[in-house]
Amino acid sequence: MTSLSAKIQDVFDEPACDYNRGKDAKARKEGCARPLTPGAAAGGCAFDGAKIVLQPITDVAHLVHAPLACEGNSWDNRGAASSGAMLWRTSFTTDLTELDVVMGQGERKLFKAIREIKETYAPPAVFVYSTCVTALTGDDIEAVCKRAGEKFGLAVVPVNAPGFIGSKNLGNKLAGEALLDHVIGTVEPDDAGPYDINILGEFNLSGEFWLVKPLLDRLGIRVRACIPGDARYIDVASAHRARAAMMVCSTALINLARKMQERWDIPFFEGSFYGISDTSEALRNIAELLVKQGADPQILDRTQTLIAEQEAIAWKKLDAYRRRLQGKRVLLNTGGVKSWSVVHALMEIGMEIVGTSVKKSTVEDRERIKQILKDDNHMFEQMAARELYAMLLHHKADIMLSGGRTQFIALKAKTPWLDINQERQHPYAGYDGMVELVRQIDLAIHNPIWCQVREPAPWDCKPDLKEELPDTKNEAATLHAVQEFVPTTADDFGER
């Protein structure tokens, strides 16, 4: 536990983190953990976060050392895509029973489980995740992994992030630490070259990295390792020989990026493939970093040409939506705007941003939001479900973009909604991805169901009829009500 505490302290004190830099020494020492309110908390645990980051490594067996719930309630639940190995989608857990817990058989069962996996599936590596119960019973997963690795001759990687130690984000970072401690640098590639890069924090959700990779291929840039999206174990193990890195999802793996820079001299930048200008910016940055590291400067021109060509195509495609989406109001509820260039592109085609949550935004972000939103009031920390519902019910927005957690707030308020988080069905990265996002917004807003679900039932929308019908004593009123009904023609009963 002491080594785990030290690790947590270490990842909280991240010098490359924007938030952290803004804190004073005392606040930095306290770490980033927010105290949770019992009965009013939401979100995943550290184990969840660690598994999210590592699970998309496709040819690894991910073994969860826990009673059933940790894995049984959560497996095969994310939309990362693989171009080859499928082992990552097979779920492995020690499924500890009462007897295992009482008799302290956890470590032995874990060791046996690793052997069974090795014998049946022969993966290049097994990742072993500790959890609340196995941390509480004091199972030494690092020792078991070490022993099993030696005995079975394969990489067995302990991922020490039990749920109770903190949030999903902390788990993300501890997963990065596990890669640094046990995986990256363990294999020397024989084909390292001057155009090799790493992409960190890209999950290849709905296969969206495949909208970007061909662009890199065209420029002659090779992705040594994309961590974790569509990664193979050997890619990750030899990732230390890349020349440069791009960090995509900044809060999740910043510690990984910085430590790779320190240990193996791989410079990195933070960027995004969401939105047109961000995609271009990312490509440009990659090329520049590679040139700084000794690549042929010619690549800069080629990059510029590709960007110009692709941007022109994308803007032309987007322009087709301008007429349909002009003036439509977007509510962003993502816990922090992930990419400004998405917002920029939406505004470029005439959409309005009517509100955004700034829960995870930096001071710099907040300033930008103020410039975009005409009204400060539409910047909110975190809106209570009830308020959000009221806002949407009163048609203060034409669509809400958010994660699955708030999906039903929009839908039950009969408001169009689009998933822009991890469970989404569509790829939104790169130039084509931005066009796809706008297309999905258009489809959502203009779906013909909205005017159907918003209409009250016909018998509820004639107020006098409703009030007068039960009053049978008043004959005149009843007669009036019946007459109102009688003159209907076939047209009124569904002939349209």
Binding site: G39, G43, L63, A69, R89, T90, F92, F164, A385
Partner: protein
């Protein structure tokens, strides 16, 4: 009698189970104004919540006591108290259903004692909200066990004990967790059609049937009312569906002397007949014309469907009562159970499953045993096995996250059985393979097999 084969692997591969606290929470979700609360770390709740949402496509009220490192060491009683008070102020629930998790059970927390103390100390603040506890560690049981424990907890905690004046028309129904929203609705209408008044505990058809309320509600809206649970002892008869509900029925009987009759399955003509006959007997009414008509429709469905189901080899993985329900259905249609896999060995019903053996295990076991079968029957996680084996998958149970409307699928009584016959027959028709000269060649290399193989000429 089926042999029960225990699990002897160390690594579970592709779990069949969902956790015990999730089952308890599902039962609490069938109560009006309810808020289930997991006593554990926030991840326990988050995983269950996401899975519920993926299945029901609904907002699901579910909260956590958010145990962290410090409370894991020092104890979670304060977290429990804070969570209850927070929920009370924020959501005004009529019921807080506490489900413990492996974390607090491994610590050995005395949650019952903690709750008793909180009820005493905070009597004023929590007035008007029932608080019940189900001890549901993740390391034992699965959904069935959790569901039954929650129902028992509600009867023990809320139902007024003692023998009461009985209302002969009032029927208490304790459905198992394998009944869908549509099943419960149908059951209720059927009972009403005999002039009886059903009270269903829990009633997910009132709360998880997917509607659009006209305001934002943070607890469940609909389901069994607390008042109905309190007055359960005035029922003339209790009807129980599924072996795992025997425990709660016994408790109700012990506390109120209400007699119960248990149906292990309501699927299939014979079982439906038994149920309808009983309704007729306790109500003194003859069977309504509409019900007779449904029965005739089922007879016809059996006639039309048996061509497609006869001789088929079925591989099923499900919780014990659902396994029994479906296995008896398939065998009743002339199919054969090629593989039967279940979650826990605690249920007495398993030995009655019409299969040679029942393997306690996971979907990895199902996949291994299903080679040579014609159809896989399990929840959505069977999709990978289905792809790898090239076999069609019929989705049943929980969770079903890659198809819409699973809660509205009817599986019981004449109409539900009819629907099942059609569903299965249609799966076979959609996956039928055209005859080829190679497959029919009498001189082809035959597969070696001891038993009779299905003829290649079998009509699909």
């Amino acid at each position: 009698m089926a042999r029960i084969l225990p699990q002897n692997k160390a690594a579970a591969v592709n779990p069949l189970k969902s956790s015990q606290p999730l089952g308890a929470a599902l039962a609490f979700l069938g109560i009006d104004g309810a808020m289930p609360l997991f006593h554990g770390s926030q991840g326990c709740t988050s995983f269950a919540l996401v899975l519920f949402v993926r299945h029901f496509k609904e907002t699901i009220p579910l909260q956590t006591t958010a145990m962290d490192e410090v409370t894991t060491i020092l104890g979670g009683a304060d977290n429990l108290e804070e969570a209850i008070l927070n929920l009370k102020t924020r959501t005004q629930p009529k019921l807080i259903g506490i489900c413990t998790t492996a974390l607090v059970e491994t610590r050995g927390e005395d949650s019952a004692g903690d709750i008793a103390a909180i009820k005493l100390k905070r009597a004023e603040e929590i007035a008007g909200t029932e608080i019940v506890l189900a001890n549901t560690p993740d390391f034992s049981g699965a959904v069935e066990e959790g569901w039954a424990k929650a129902v028992t907890a509600m009867i023990e905690g809320i139902t007024r004990p003692g023998e009461r004046a009985r209302q002969p028309k009032k029927v208490a129904i304790l459905p198992g967790c394998h009944l869908t929203v549509a099943d419960i609705e149908h059951l209720s209408e059927m009972v009403e059609s005999f002039g009886l008044e059903p009270v269903i505990l829990p009633d997910i058809s009132g709360s998880l049937d997917g509607t659009v309320p006209d305001r934002w509600v943070t607890t469940t809206y609909g389901g069994t009312s607390i008042e109905d649970i309190r007055e359960l002892g005035t029922a003339g008869q209790c009807i129980v569906i599924g072996e795992h509900m025997r425990g709660p029925a016994k408790v109700l009987h012990r506390l109120t002397r209400v007699p119960y009759v248990l149906f292990q399955s309501l699927t299939g003509l014979k079982d439906a007949d038994r149920f309808i006959s009983m309704l007729s007997a306790i109500s003194g009414e003859s069977v309504p014309a509409g019900v007779r008509r449904r029965r005739a429709q089922l007879q016809d469905a059996l006639l039309d469907g048996h061509f497609h189901l006869g001789g088929k080899k079925i591989a099923i993985a499900a919780e014990p009562d659902q396994l029994y329900q479906l296995a008896t259905f398939f065998v009743g249609m002339g199919s054969e159970i090629a593989a039967a896999v279940s979650t826990t060995d605690m249920s007495k019903i398993l030995e009655k499953v019409p299969a040679e053996s029942v393997q306690i295990g996971d979907l990895g076991d199902l996949e291994a045993l299903a080679a040579g079968a014609d159809l896989l029957v399990t929840h959505s996680h069977g999709r990978q096995a289905s792809e790898r084996l090239g076999l069609p998958l019929m989705r049943v149970g929980f969770p079903i996250f890659d198809r819409l409307g699973s809660q509205h699928k009817l599986t019981i009584l004449y109409q539900g059985t009819r629907d099942l016959v059609f569903e299965v027959a249609n799966i076979f028709q959609a996956n039928r393979q055209a005859p080829t000269p190679e497959k029919l060649n009498p001189l082809r290399k035959r597969e070696t097999s001891d038993g009779p193989r299905p003829s290649p000429l079998t009509r699909h």
